[in-house]
């Protein structure tokens, strides 16, 4: 089943707010508003004809440009969401696959950076457990409903979420100095902007 058919099915059978995105790269995705992600996922998993039994990947990134926000114009963003929402957001991706039907789908959603919260899908796929922990660790998205949400890659007392674009690496950690030496500095590029 191709992604357009899947999109139509979702649109017909759930009351979720979805839209089809095809202009972004070789794999089109289905955009789902953050509050209906869990219901769409449950539908995708449990509908026999779709039967998405694998969550291959779950990830996200920090979108600093507001170009993506036109989606919210379409979908009538409620007023109570914070102002940060209109500047920066975290876009989340789920890549699903079905060993039975042998088709795949990319689900996309976004949460505002000030209120980075997403429903956990651990109840549907157990592989979501570690993947969501990783997103929480590196991007700072919290998952209410996750059984064991703690840092996975970084130490428990680490501050900040490194994959956010505004993250500044600490110069020291528990007394371990991380600032570059004179030697390293002399090799820092001048012309290259990094």
């Amino acid at each position: 089943m191709n992604i357009l058919q899947i999109f139509e099915q979702i649109k017909q059978n759930t009351d979720a707010v979805v839209s089809f995105q095809e202009d972004e790269g070789p794999t089109p995705s289905i955009y789902v508003r953050s509050d209906s992600v869990l219901s769409v996922m449950t539908y995708l998993k449990e509908e026999e004809a779709l039967d998405f039994n694998v969550l291959m990947n779950h990830t996200g990134f920090h979108e600093t440009e507001s170009s993506k926000l036109f989606w919210h114009l379409f979908f009538d963003v409620s007023q109570d969401e914070s102002e940060d929402h209109h500047h920066e957001e975290i876009r989340l991706f789920w890549h699903l696959y079905s060993y039975k039907v042998e088709h795949r789908v990319t689900i996309e959603s976004s949460v505002p950076i000030g209120k980075a919260q997403m429903d956990s899908v651990v109840s549907l796929w157990k592989s979501a457990n570690w993947l969501e922990r990783e997103v929480y660790d590196l991007l700072g998205v919290t998952y209410p409903g996750h059984p064991d949400l703690r840092r996975i890659m970084l130490p428990p007392d680490w501050e900040g979420h490194p994959l956010r674009k505004d993250y500044v690496a600490p110069t020291s950690y528990h007394g371990i100095d991380n600032s570059p030496s004179a030697l390293t500095k002399s090799f820092e590029p001048k012309g290259k902007s990094k």
Partner: protein, 210 residues
């Protein structure tokens, strides 16, 4: 009960099988390369001294970087290609043919005089061998094959500073800088002369007008 005796039988026969192989291995050639005695960077020695089945070093082995400054055009492509910033190149505008040693042969560049006048000269070419990850991207990016990997891999030094390969010596740098300032001065003098001439002409024109 059958499984019980099957276990015993399988235990003995498979152990027997395994023992035959480990015993046989004792009589087959050994793969150890006795490194300092066998010079592994030379294929000839390896063929002569070493009886195992490992090969010597290939032609395109990616060892410690080396730069042929007579080929370098100071274009800084390698510096940009390096993913970990272990190459630093500084350059200045300079007449390279003047940068010669006693017998008159050019030190830095073998370009013709005309070209040399236009090219830039490297005043700093440092490679941090401690940081280099030997990926070969600089070698592939270089348009003149000035930077390349050698088949050397031995480079133990006492400090990190000694691991920095400096290809331009301070003398050459000083000479180049001196020459550059001379060129600048010459250019400035020329410009000044030109300006003066222009002024004089202007004055002349003014005088003629008057």
């Amino acid at each position: 009960m059958g499984a019980y005796f099957q276990n015993i039988k399988d235990g003995f026969t498979t152990a027997f099988e395994g023992m035959s192989i480990s015993f046989a291995t004792m009589f087959v050639r050994k793969e150890t390369v006795q490194y300092p005695e066998v010079d592994i960077s030379s294929n000839a020695t390896i063929a002569e001294k070493y009886k195992g089945s490992l090969m010597g070093m290939p032609e395109n082995y990616r060892g410690i970087l080396d730069v042929d400054l007579s080929l370098c055009t100071a274009c800084q492509i390698c510096q940009k290609a390096c993913p970990i910033d272990c190459i630093v190149i500084d350059n200045i505008k300079c007449d390279k043919t003047k940068l010669s040693d006693g017998d008159g042969s050019p030190v830095l560049n073998r370009f013709t005089q005309k070209e040399a006048l236009k090219t830039r000269t490297v005043t700093r070419f440092d490679i941090n061998a401690a940081k280099c990850m030997y990926c070969g991207l600089c070698e592939k990016a270089c348009p003149t094959s000035a930077i390349r990997h050698t088949n050397q891999f031995e480079m133990n030094r006492e400090s990190q500073e000694e691991l920095i390969l400096r290809f331009v010596s301070d003398d050459v740098k000083a000479t180049a800088e001196k020459r550059a300032s001379e060129i600048e001065a010459e250019a400035a003098a020329k410009k000044a002369a030109k300006a003066k001439k222009a002024q004089e002409e202007k004055a002349k024109e003014k005088g003629a007008e008057e």
